[in-house]
Amino acid sequence: MSDLSDTAAEIHDEFSEHVDATVDDVEARLEKLVTEYKVPLAEARRSVENHYLDEAGLDRDELGGRGNDTVQVEDVDEPEQWVDLTAKVVELWEPRSDSVGQVGLLGDPTGTIKFTKWAKSDLANLEEGKTYRLGNVVTDEYQGRYSVKLNKTTSIEEVDEEFDVGDNEDEVEGALVDIQSGSGLIKRCPEEDCTRVLQNGRCSEHGEVEGEFDLRIKGVLDDGRDVHEVIFDEDATEALTGIGLEEAKQMAKDALDTTVVADEMRETVLGNYYRVTGPTFGRYVLANDTEKLDDAPDPEAVLIKARSI
């Protein structure tokens, strides 16, 4: 095939869902520009694409480039990407705005992701528990969390695929190099739905309150290449340090000081290597499972590499 017919086929693929033209039609338009008017192929392509965009009443943005990547949920790590996705509707939520037709959670074996379907998109309704192949959805990001948006160019096709939806867990490992302030025995605001950590007995929202004790560690795992911030909740903190909430309270009572708890924890765990798995929220990994790495490392592979340089 010539460059011309390759390009024609590509353009045809881009528009096959939107425009009723054959590859030959496309090629004829290209050829006219390239051979008759001596327009460079790249420019001719742009021009022909614009023609079909006009015809379909689309913006270039809505076209999604030359064929979308088919992605899995865990691959979504950039906003404003046009992708295809096969996913199950895990949950439908109540839309909070009239502009939203449907909102909820999609999932595939690699994890879950929020989706929004605009009311004006005029698409068929998705049903909970069913799996769909979604063509041409656009990714979005808000505070480190990704979502996909269904729009008027999105294609929805129900498919018969069964899989278990994954849980979006990340695995990070490295040496625990820091336990940050706000770790150890802390107090949280007791107001309903407010779990803010108190600073000097004050909640930033509710002022001076009688706090409730909790255990938490904000730690940093570092593998020499990257740093990962990890949050350990009460259970994970106890599993990591061997210090439970009651013991921590007793330690603080004996010392008349809550900071002894974090100090003791630092001495126990800093400098050790851990592998942590859990979901990522913003910049933090929430530790669901923590494993101390204390098996003997194997120097053999590194030795072979060292000798080969």
Partner: protein
């Protein structure tokens, strides 16, 4: 994203290379800009993580406590200094019973001696005692990271390798040898241990 400065990675570097990292620099004129030591294998280090044997501690302060600890790895010795501004690290050194394995997170610092030579030392953020398995893991990991730097040393556009070449020269074979020694040493140790275990079993 937040505007908080991103946390600096703790580099892995053996003592022989660390002690050669005499050249320090900042990336901007801001006085709060982080200070980096330039590693001879071509990386900048604002923070390092080291694990080794704490062999000696000494209070060398005159008016107030100022602790020096010697932390030994398979290649050389890290010098760790902690005074009143590093109270946790200072008390860790004060209370430590040597020899013991320690993990140190800290910042590279340099000072010029009376005879004009530059000494590189470590200002600790934390010092904790760890077990042998952690020390072993660090040795293998540090060998790996050092090899990665050596691998990339001649890559085009490797800014810190260019600077390292200008400051320290292009010969990095000593660091490769140190990696080999560290790993082989480690290998021999382990083999001896397992063969003596085999003897006991027979």
């Amino acid at each position: 994203m937040s505007n908080a400065p991103t946390r600096e990675v703790a580099r892995r570097v053996f003592a022989d290379e660390f002690n050669d990292a005499e050249f320090t620099f900042k990336e901007s004129d801001d006085e709060r800009a982080p200070l980096y030591a330039l590693l001879p294998t071509g990386e900048r280090a604002n923070r390092v993580f080291v694990v080794g044997t704490l062999t000696e501690t000494e209070d060398i302060g005159e008016d107030s406590e100022y602790w020096r600890g010697r932390v030994v790895d398979p290649t050389d010795t890290f010098f760790v200094y902690a005074g009143q501004y590093q109270p946790e690290a200072a008390s860790a050194l004060r209370d430590a019973e040597t020899p013991t394995y320690v993990a140190v997170v800290g910042k590279p610092r340099t000072f010029e001696t009376d005879d004009g030579s530059v000494n590189v030392s470590l200002r600790p953020e934390s010092i904790t005692t760890v077990d042998e398995a952690t020390r072993d893991r660090w040795v293998v990991e540090t060998a790996e990271r050092t090899l990665e730097r050596l691998d990339a040393f001649d890559d085009e556009g490797n800014e810190y390798a260019e600077r390292a070449k200008a400051e320290y020269g292009e010969d990095v074979s000593a660091y490769r040898r140190a990696v080999l020694d560290a790993l082989e040493d480690f290998d021999v140790q382990k083999t001896t241990e397992s063969s003596s275990a085999a003897h006991q079993n027979s």
